[in-house]
Symmetry: C2
Subunit: 83 residues, 2 copies
């Protein structure tokens, strides 16, 4: 089994309204040291062993997991611990 973590972030220059809302809320709570907030998502996949894991997950990203027009993604593949 392989465990693949996909980190999806908005490209630089793309507005992040959720991040801006968090920033405003943190300021109201007294955390005035916060300069900028950007949000992203993480998708953890558990996969049965197969060839070309990385290429398959790249395909999943472009077809479903990320929007390549406004988002960047990074993959991190590791061996899953058997439970």
């Amino acid at each position: 089994m392989k465990k693949v973590t996909v980190h999806v972030t908005l490209k630089e220059g793309i507005l992040d309204p959720q991040g801006q809302t968090i920033e405003t809320s943190l300021h109201s709570l007294g955390f005035t040291e916060v300069e900028e907030v950007r949000t992203g998502k993480t998708i953890e996949l558990l996969l049965n062993d197969q060839d070309n894991v990385e290429a398959r997950v790249q395909a999943m990203c472009t077809k479903l997991l990320a929007n390549p027009v406004i988002e960047d993604y990074q993959l991190h593949v590791e061996e899953a611990l058997q439970s």
Copy 2:
């Protein structure tokens, strides 16, 4: 400036309907090797230098960024590159 990345994930045993939906969609697209999908979020904070960065961000997490009843979080603090 410090850059802090907060990874928020659902605790083990908490249902993840978004992950289940992604899993079903990946199966329909032919990615039948996918066994399990869990989703999470990432919040990147850019902070002005201040004492106790880690304790301050812990407070942000419990007050706003994560729901400690159903979510776990991890912090990663690094020096921000000056631009």
